[in-house]
Amino acid sequence: MTETTITSTGPQQPRKLWTMPRWLTSEHPFPWVFPTTATLIVFGLYPILYAVWLSLHRRHPVTRENQFNPEWNWSRVFADERVWDAIAVTYMYTSVAIVIQLALGLAIALLLDSERRGFGLMRALMTLPLVVPPAVTGMMFLLMYNNSFGVISRSLQHIGLMGTDTPLLATGSTALWAIMVADTWQWTPFMVLIMLAGLRALPKDPFEAAAIDGANAWQAFTRLTLPMLSKIIAIAVLIRGIDLFRVYDYVKVMTDGGPGTATETLTAYAGKIYFGSANFPYASAVAILTLVLVIITANIFIKVFKVRF
């Protein structure tokens, strides 16, 4: 590139006894990237490698010492039914929530994309759920779901959609969906914002041409809006999907994986091993499995939908 040649035309510096090696000058990327790289290695890469290393150890049941035994945890992970349950719960949660949040986000974005009075305010209000700490969101819904004085549960009971003996979060068939409602409340605005940005950036001409050719609103949406938004939708789904896969806060606060293991996602299970039995090597194995599944799933998605940052 040209940058390097340009700076050499600068004024001559007086000769010094010791000149800085080039890789320490601001011309070289090293000093620029070093602080970030070092931080990410110390607090990111090293802990991951350490966790992998730890997962290759067996915790002795009596002495609690870690002995090198590479097969122990990994054969246990794949034989552990709770792991398979957790994988199923995690994929189910992620895939259903992503579809709902994307569909709602797109619909609400289309609804709010107007220059009329008040719509700007409504768009601003829609961003507020995004800044509520997810743990607090969990608490909000915990309060509203309370079976004896929670506003949602009592309303559902009142109109007969729910029995008083099946608390939403303590019933296996509803608990995961109840958590998903909290997640959807918090993160649909994320989709709305991104879709609004996408809609704003669309060129006007194709729509005018389509209107002249007699296309109706639905045709314009499916043939023009959706294809032109596809790149943005792919990025949004990728970011949101990975975050859904890592879900922890809502589960921890609202059910802690219960009732039974009905809402136990992979991260929740790893956290439980950590807090419960303190079997760090096994907790690490489950956590690393989560990481591997994230990487594989995300990369398949990136390849299929050709996402690029």
């Binding site: 940058e3 340009i6 035309t9 601001s26 011309e27 990327p29 620029w32 990237v33 602080p35 970030t36 931080t39 990410l40 607090f43 990111g44 090293y46 802990p47 991951i48 966790a51 730890l54 609804l111 009329r116 601003a124 209000l125 829609m126 507020l128 759920p129 995004l130 800044v131 509520v132 700490p133 997810p134 743990a135 607090v136 969101t137 969990g138 909000m140 309060l143 004085f149 929670g150 506003v151 009592r154 605005p189 994320f190 914002l193 991104i194 609004l196 940005a197 970011i239 990975i242 890592r246 922890y248 921890k252 956290g271 760090f280 956590a287 690393i288 989560t290 990481l291 994230v294 940052f309």
Partner: protein
């Protein structure tokens, strides 16, 4: 082509309804925080407006006053320390969020500059490597970090949490700052360098002032992410508590003090609300790490 009046009306009704649905949980939460305990725990009916508003919950949690005996439920011990005093937690949260925001920006701006202005072998790979940390499940690094912090004496310290929150924020900040730097034409700093400035001088004196707005937006997002972070704070601390973790400790087996929980929860949301409204313009870019510009 103007839409007929009934379609416009219908759209208003739908939009207001949707916004109201999304505002409701926050509204209900705020309402709960000013209810007296009796109204919150009314099993006969869900109390909406039929109560005497009180600031008791805020006095106890934010100002640290002892709960008055009449209002406190049976689950509260009388006398002794006020375990719902949130003042220390608020202080801890502010120190950690501000500390990690400042550290993140200082570290990230360099890498962002290199990625935007310098061409080096493997820069795309390096970018992807940084980005991958954004998607790391925190649970995967918690155990080693707990060990590491124990050895370094960083457990239960502000510095420890500042460092891990910096790790969480760095990938977002680097990519976001890079996208703001990419908006500044390269001619600008090249002109400065032709005039004899070193790259460092052109960065500090020319480029940096031009991305002030971008740095502010990045800082706000980092602050909010640190402020709302839960899982790492939960695992790495027991004495120092950030607000989200502290609030969850109010749920106990003997009964949850929803008045105090909602009061502290509302207080925790307010600064983030205000900050995020300040950076509305850059929110989409921030949430997608510069991939989508509004």
């Amino acid at each position: 082509m103007r839409a007929p009046w009934y379609l416009v009306t219908l759209r208003y009704i739908a939009a207001i309804f949707v916004t109201a649905v999304f505002m409701f949980p926050v509204f209900w939460w705020g309402l709960t925080s000013i209810k007296p305990t009796r109204a919150i725990f009314n099993r006969e009916q869900v109390v909406v407006f039929d109560f005497e508003p009180t600031l008791e919950n805020y006095r106890v949690t934010v100002l640290g006053e002892s709960p008055s005996l009449i209002e406190s439920g049976a689950s509260m011990g009388t006398g002794g320390e006020n375990s719902f005093d949130g003042r220390e937690t608020i202080f801890d949260s502010i120190v950690i969020a501000v500390g990690s925001t400042v550290l993140t920006i200082i570290l990230a701006v360099g890498a962002a500059y290199a990625l935007s202005r310098l061409t080096f072998r493997g820069s795309q790979l390096y970018l992807n490597w940084i980005l991958s940390h954004r998607f790391l499940p925190p649970i995967a690094i918690i155990v080693p970090i707990v060990f590491m912090f124990r050895d370094l004496g960083l457990r239960d310290t502000h510095l420890g949490l500042i460092l891990v929150h910096t790790l969480i924020n760095l990938p977002i900040a680097v990519l976001l700052l890079k996208s703001f730097l990419d908006d500044v034409p390269k001619d600008v700093d090249q002109a400065a360098m032709i005039d004899g400035a070193t790259r460092w001088q052109s960065f500090r004196l020319v480029v940096l002032p031009m991305i002030k707005g971008g740095i502010a937006a990045t800082a706000v997002l980092c602050f909010v992410f640190s402020w709302t972070e839960f899982i790492l704070s939960l695992f790495l601390t027991s004495e120092i508590r950030t607000l989200p973790v502290k609030i969850t400790t109010f749920v106990t087996s003997t009964g949850s003090e929803w008045g105090y929980i909602s009061a502290l929860g509302t207080s925790a949301m307010l600064p983030a609300f205000i900050f995020i409204l300040l950076v509305q313009r850059h929110l989409v870019r921030g949430l997608t790490m510069g991939a989508i510009k509004d």
